[in-house]
């Protein structure tokens, strides 16, 4: 064995080792990449997935239109109590409480031995609930009731009557904007009562917004069958 041959073999052996280490490094690197990728995928898969039924948009039954959709009214804040004002503001967009669901009824028609499916909505009036019979509605507020006392009562126990009384009070005092606000609030407590609607409609008439008043009464009548409301509507339309 000559030294030249030995050195040459040593060099060649080192080169082979280098290649081998490089190959091992590449393999390890690829394994690392694969593991990292698998780990990321695993972490991703661990994230909570919204249940299918949550993702599916809930079928919302057709509900009553809100008066607020028909008429947008600016709220004038009452000066008495700031807390009260905040409460009132919360109801300024809610007028009629949505309670009635009008189901869609499938009707199957057969023409020339072919089945034709038709989806029809029944006439609203056929299924409308009858509004509670109310005697002649007059907007009466007791003379000794002051704004403060009415607001105080409302603050102590807020309900349909207190809100309606305030609405009537403001109507009498020709503060129509406030009357509208409180009528909406009263409606929130008892949607089937025509009284808040009446004050609302009268206030609108006073503001020279007859169309909006007619629309509101018509909306009420589309949900409830009420003779008083019907007569009132005819009355307004006659005036028009």
């Amino acid at each position: 064995m000559t030294s030249r041959a030995f050195i040459d073999l040593e060099k060649r052996s080192r080169a082979i080792n280098r290649k081998r280490y490089f190959r091992v490094f590449v393999i390890l690197f690829l394994i690392f990449i694969a593991c990292a990728f698998a780990y990321i995928e695993f972490i991703k898969s661990k994230k909570p997935v919204l249940k299918k039924h949550i993702l599916v948009e809930k079928k919302i039954p057709k509900t009553k239109k809100l008066v607020a959709d028909i008429n947008v009214t600016k709220v004038i804040k009452p000066k008495v109590d700031k807390k009260k004002v905040e409460k009132i503001e919360r109801y300024d967009t809610v007028f009629l409480k949505p309670t009635i669901t009008i189901p869609k009824i499938k009707k199957i028609e057969i023409k020339n031995n072919k089945i034709k499916k038709k989806i029809t909505i029944p006439k609203i009036k056929e299924q409308l609930p009858v509004a509670k019979k109310e005697n002649k509605i007059n907007i009466i507020v007791k003379s000794f009731d002051s704004e403060d006392s009415l607001l105080k009562k409302n603050q102590v126990n807020e309900n349909f009557n207190t809100a309606l009384n305030l609405s009537k009070y403001y109507f009498k005092k020709s503060k129509f904007e406030k009357a509208i606000v409180w009528s909406k609030k009263a409606n929130h407590y008892k949607a089937s009562s025509f009284e808040p609607w009446l004050i609302y409609a009268k206030a609108k008439i006073k503001q020279n917004k007859k169309d909006e008043a007619i629309k509101a009464v018509e909306t009420f009548l589309s949900y409830y069958d009420s003779e008083i409301a019907q007569k009132f509507l005819q009355n307004i339309k006659g005036q028009k």
Binding site: M1, A5, F6, L9, E10, R12, S13, N17
Partner: protein
């Protein structure tokens, strides 16, 4: 004292029947060939195996063992003319060979001469014989006066066996297997210990023997060449004071493999 110079000489690629390594493959082959010769029920015995597995050694060993019992002729080189075989057979019977005589007459006379005695003829590297020579072997085999033991490389041997000369003939085929790594280890150990190189034999571990077997594929000749190259490297390292290579390590094994060309680095 590690005398690599003398130790490496044990692994030179020469056939010395004095030293026989009794590997499982060698023992099985030896038993099968000897049984076939003794039973004489097949005129043709084929010994096939990878080049360097030890076929030539085995052939020489068996022919030596048979010399005492029966007539055996060992032909270690391929003959180029079909008359060469007849000449060898004539000479072994001390009969004058006249090349001017017609080939068929030579053949008939030879058969007559050999009819009473049974002869075993060993031919090494038989894959180098041509069609004519194979045909002659077949004819002589059919006389039952001759029994041929032909050693051939595995791949070529399998192809020759499919030829028309031998396809339908009664024959015995013995395949010589390569060494297992434990046999490689035992071979190195026994070869060194036999010549009192105990210190060097201790340098080899079973793990290293496994690596040698892997590099050499368990081929007997290649194992010898490998160990020879390894001991040469150790000898150089010792002479030049390279302490890094004072013991057998993976680097030295790799360098030995490169030296004998069993691994390709290009």
């Amino acid at each position: 004292m590690r005398d690599y110079t003398k130790a490496k000489e044990l692994f030179r690629d020469i056939i010395d029947v004095k030293y026989y390594f009794d590997s499982i493959g060698a023992e099985v082959t030896r038993y099968k060939v000897k049984s076939a010769i003794e039973e004489r029920n097949a005129p043709l015995i084929f010994l096939i195996g990878d080049p360097g597995v030890g076929k030539s050694y085995m052939l020489k060993l068996i022919s030596k063992e048979l010399e005492k019992k029966a007539r055996s002729i060992f032909i270690d080189h391929p003959f180029f003319d079909k008359r060469d075989l007849l000449k060898i057979l004539y000479e072994s019977k001390n009969i004058a060979f006249d090349k001017n005589i017609n080939f068929n007459n030579l053949k008939e006379r030879l058969i007559k001469e050999y009819k009473n005695d049974k002869h075993t003829i060993f031919i090494d590297e038989a894959q180098l014989l041509n069609e004519e020579q194979f045909e002659l072997i077949r004819i002589l085999g059919d006389t039952k006066a001759f029994q041929f033991v032909l050693s051939m490389h595995k791949e070529e041997g399998k192809a020759i066996l499919k030829k028309k000369h031998f396809k339908s003939r009664t024959k015995v085929v013995v395949e010589y297997e390569n060494l297992h790594y434990k046999e490689v280890y035992r071979y190195i150990q026994s070869a060194l210990l036999l010549e009192n190189f105990g210190e060097i034999s201790q340098m080899f571990s079973l793990k290293q023997a496994k690596k040698i077997a892997k590099y050499t594929d368990g081929n007997f000749r290649t194992v010898k060449k490998f160990v020879y190259a390894l001991l040469s490297l150790l000898e150089y390292a010792k002479m030049n004071g390279l302490r890094k290579y004072s013991e057998i390590n993976s680097n030295l094994l790799q360098m030995s493999a490169l030296d004998i060309g069993v691994i390709d680095d290009k």
